[in-house]
Subunit: 173 residues, 2 copies
């Protein structure tokens, strides 16, 4: 029986490792966001960097923009419109002064990500999302709760004003 | 002879593709930075995200902080000190208002990366860099020109004031 117990322990440890890895690298799944039916893509936290962004006004938001492999290839190739399968992720945090860094620099000058606020996705599917410029939109708060239908309805009209296939973010070299 | 010509063309196209890929993903090599002898690590632009950063004062700098696989694993495991082989990259851009985005938002509130200013690296090698807390430091301007010896001498004393193994940046979830 010893080898069965060993096997069971190995399976449990293995499953634990998978769960931890999944959390660390951007847990997927969960509830789908309304209208577009998009769930959090598994592993998005491991995607490569597109750029960074900072919004003031009422937002005080600090973002990292990541892209899946299709997105990164399209950005680097300068290919527009983005091909089907493109997913762009915006990881949002509060734009927060770093007392720790300012102490070292001797000046109030350093800003870092505070608590995570939400994560948003743009998913390109030119057929499925034909009525919204080929893009589906999703928003999840820091606990994975999807945005409301009313809030998600505001995404497409605003993004339609972006000149590069509804995408505001350009690629940072 | 036709197949030889074809082969040559294929080789040239292949080499071209490799060079383009290399540029897009963070061209490595070039001149080594002084003191620590660090060259630009190949493929660093493909590394995963650690966090983002914004420095005002005289800097007006916008940064993406990326890490190689050793760095990302150590960050996610909460492991300190960072193990040998860790490399952390800071990609710096000017922190620039986006007239294009502000026009859509209707308010001057959006900031994006302007021109790339430099890229900096911290390389962990506890034996080689024992006299500077186990870290080697490198700075390259946007054209790949290394920082001066005088400038690089300022890295270690300042980083030594960071409480987490000389590293200021924490991991953004």
């Amino acid at each position: 029986m010893r080898w069965i117990a060993f096997l069971l322990i190995a399976v449990v440890i293995g499953a634990g490792a998978i769960i931890l890895t999944d959390r660390a690298s951007g847990q997927g799944g969960g509830e789908a966001a309304p209208i577009y039916g998009i769930k959090i893509p598994a592993g998005y936290r491991d995607w490569r960097l597109v750029s960074v962004a900072h919004e003031e006004g009422n937002l005080h938001s600090f973002a990292a923009i990541l892209g899946n492999d299709v997105a990164i290839k399209a950005y680097r190739d300068g290919k527009l419109p983005f091909p089907d399968g493109t997913i762009i992720a915006a990881l949002h945090y509060s734009h927060t002064a770093s007392a720790e860094n300012d102490k070292v620099f001797g000046d109030p000058q350093s800003f870092v990500p505070g608590p995570q606020t939400n994560v948003q996705f743009m998913v390109k599917d030119s057929k499925k999302y034909a009525s919204t410029g080929g893009w589906g939109y999703a928003h999840f708060d820091k606990d994975g709760k999807p945005g409301t239908e009313a809030a998600l309805k505001t995404c497409a009209p605003c993004h339609a004003m972006a000149t590069r296939d509804s995408v505001f973010t350009t690629y940072a070299p």
